[in-house]
Symmetry: C2
Subunit: 473 residues, 2 copies
């Protein structure tokens, strides 16, 4: 395994050179976070469909348990159980609109990952970088458990566990655990754990800071150790269920699903689950004893347990919904943790928006009304007053506003419109509105997919390293 | 599936152009022999080890259920459940000795398959063509169920079911079912079913012709139909056992095996089987209730059932041994069918050589002595007198000799020495003599192997066609 060890040290060195300002050593965070032996155990796989552009290049890398779709180029990197979904990359001939500029694309966009170590990370969407419109670049970067890199070029960064960078170009930054960024561009900054920061340029800014004392119950990560807390315990308890789906080559769907719906064969579907039309369940999603209404989706690393989603619900990458009833079009953002608890139950009425990285973990029953924005940390009905707001109220805000640990500045209406527009885009892209012919999306285009399994050298110096592989259409 | 259909027609056309002399239309033999849908159902796979040269190129091809090892290049071809084993290809820097010529190799040898349709065919060993020392070429060729292409460049040929071409360069030939050729070179000839033909140039020639009336009980194949007979019935009855081994990604060995032994994870090992040191069991071999003595091997498509092999036994590709006891170093050639039958039992004493394509199917108990040559068709003790001969008797022959349907001409001693030399080479190459450090062979070098699974486009015009794949070390 000499070469794999060399590769790990090379990546640490490359990231540290980038992070000399802020001065940060990723070594103690990533050495031994996954044992080298673990990195040789799992096959990687890529999907082939007749809908998606296809082009893979893997060289001098380890890809344990990772999944690829679309055009992906991975070199000198270690990807551990990471999902690299290139199904929304821009295509040759498209025009990329950016702040009044029209940028025509001369090639299909490709995800390029170089000198990086991604652990259980989700990479999705497309690059929003006008300087590199044909490349979605992740370079000299370490990202840790259940981080999301979403439409964000990332160079020279360390991403803590359950962090999300969304439509943000990052250079030389350290992003703390469970931090969420959607701020266009950021350089040379250390972002504290639990920061939620959305910036719409001059138009609005939303900030929330999770209480560090509460957050550490859910997720904490120190140099020299491994990430710990309730989020990881929750995931570990359900790990066994995934073994079977990864161990069998061709898995039959456990029950018939309605037309237009798509259950990924690497998802876990437990008993008493009902799937409606145009539902999308992505790989590594977990559904148990739940109702998925028409057009609802469960993205990668989602858990939906003992819950009812009425329809057209977006459950973004990594969100968890337990013992909850969500009305139509309720949106639940990245990595949110919604735990109604068996004895109480959580109800959120239609069209409400649960912000990314929200924690709802109840000690009494809680009801949240229709068309509300929901954020931060909610444990009882009293917290609801502090951490939710009617969308209509928010729409009337112009200027500075704060409530509890949340600070808002700018045009509330623009903020809501932007969010709603994005939710509609996600529903469309996922195929929620498909009538069988028109408005097809991921739920329809990934129904028929071939998986190709690749494995590394099994022994010797090269153990754990994958041969160079090039796949063309 | 339009492209797959087009590919099939292209291959038929290319082969037919080669076979205009002898005038032969492969179309009625291969159209519908495997349904196009069947060709989209199975994944193909390739092995990666730290011992074997690695280089794969697959383009514009269908590879259903096929296995690849070593350096393989497949273009514009359909390979259905074929094993392409490149683990004995010549390597760069080696000297290829050919009839007094020393030919240095400037590149690693590669198996190149082009414009061909191979069905359940085994390709193995290396090319013995001095004109193309770095290429093992199969081009414009159709080969059918359980054919073996062994160390033989083949261009413009049709190979019938259970036929074998061994160390023979073939141009524009039609090889009948169950025919075996080992004759250096052959052009523009139609070889009848059941011909066994071995030629050592000026030194010796061995010929046997199976009785067509008997042979058709075992294997027959007519234009417009599918191959039929007992050989295929036998294989079909055991087909179900292979489903599980192909359906699971990582299969645990059912029991511990001694050091130096290697059971391929795509072999079927049924209960009450005992495996000794340095045993090699290749993919698609089937062992049931049998004892495999030290250094014994079971090559691809072998079946060994209710039998005892004392040790250092070679069971060549496709050979079947049922209800039999074989002494030490008994060799059983390609596609031989040895059926002792439960009520009688077959015994063959040590160091005997069962010629390729021998049929032993007993109606009474049969014993064959030590150091005998065994050929043709044997059903009772009377046939033994007709179809076996002490090696010492054969060694004394010089000139013409015939016994029953067998004809021999030349130097008997050279014939035996050549055979024995080859058996020793096979045992060495398979690792039968390994002492843990020295004399390593396939049994040791394939213990640790990674399998990579590849699948075709799942729908549309390209359904069944594999994306272009290039794999480099």
């Amino acid at each position: 395994m000499k070469k794999l060890n060399d590769l790990m040290e090379k990546i640490i060195q490359r990231v540290n050179i980038n992070l000399r300002e802020p001065l940060f050593d990723v070594g103690p965070y990533v050495r031994n976070i996954v044992s080298l032996n673990q990195l040789t155990k799992f096959y990687a796989f890529y999907g082939i469909t007749s809908y998606h552009c296809l082009n893979f290049h893997f060289s001098r890398s380890n890809l344990a348990g990772s999944y690829f779709l679309g055009k992906c180029n991975v070199s000198d990197s270690i990807l551990y159980k990471s999902d690299i979904r290139g199904d929304e990359l821009k295509r040759k001939g498209e025009i990329f609109h950016f702040e009044g500029l029209d940028i025509p694309l001369y090639e299909d966009e490709t995800i390029r990952i170089k000198d990086s170590f991604l652990i259980k990370t989700l990479v999705h969407n497309n690059s929003h970088d006008p300087e590199n419109p044909e490349e979605f670049i992740i370079q000299n970067t370490v990202s840790t458990h259940y981080a999301n890199i979403h439409g964000s070029n990332v160079e020279g960064c360390f991403l803590g566990p359950f962090s999300t960078v969304d439509l943000t170009i990052l250079h030389d930054c350290v992003i703390g655990a469970f931090a969420y960024l959607q701020i266009k561009e950021l350089d040379h900054l250390e972002v504290p754990a639990g920061t939620i920061w959305i910036s719409g340029g001059d138009q609005f800014e939303f900030r929330y800071q999770h209480d560090p004392d509460i957050l550490k119950e859910y997720i904490r990560f120190k140099a020299g150790g491994k990430p710990q807390g309730m989020f990881l315990e929750f995931v570990k308890q359900r790990k066994e269920d995934f073994l079977r789906v990864f161990d069998v080559v061709n898995l039959e769907t456990p029950f018939s699903i309605p037309s237009g719906a798509s259950l990924n064969r690497y998802a876990v579907i437990k008993p008493k689950t009902r799937i409606s039309q145009n539902v999308l369940v992505a790989q590594r999603a977990y559904i148990e004893n739940s109702f998925m209404g028409i057009g609802a989706n469960a993205q990668e690393n989602c858990y939906i347990i003992n819950s009812r989603l009425e329809g057209y619900n977006v459950t973004a990458h990594g969100a968890k919904i337990i013992d909850a009833e969500l009305g139509e079009k309720v949106f639940v953002g990245f990595n949110s943790f919604l735990n109604g608890n068996r004895d109480y139950g959580l109800r959120i009425a239609e069209k409400s928006i649960v912000m990314p990285h929200t924690i709802i973990d109840l000690t009494e029953p809680v009801n949240i009304g229709a068309s509300h924005l929901v954020w931060g940390c909610i444990r009882n009905q009293a917290d609801v007053a502090q951490n939710t707001m009617a969308l209509s109220e928010l729409a009337s805000i112009s200027g500075k506003f704060s409530r509890g640990r949340m600070k808002f500045e700018g045009n509330g209406e623009q903020f809501i419109k932007g969010f709603q527009h994005r939710i509609e885009h996600i529903l469309e892209a996922n195929g929620a509105y498909c009538d069988g012919r028109n408005m097809k999306g991921h739920a329809q285009s990934t129904q028929n997919i071939s998986y190709n399994l690749i494995q590394p050298y099994p022994e010797g110096d090269l153990k754990g390293i994958f041969p160079r592989i090039d796949i063309f259409p």
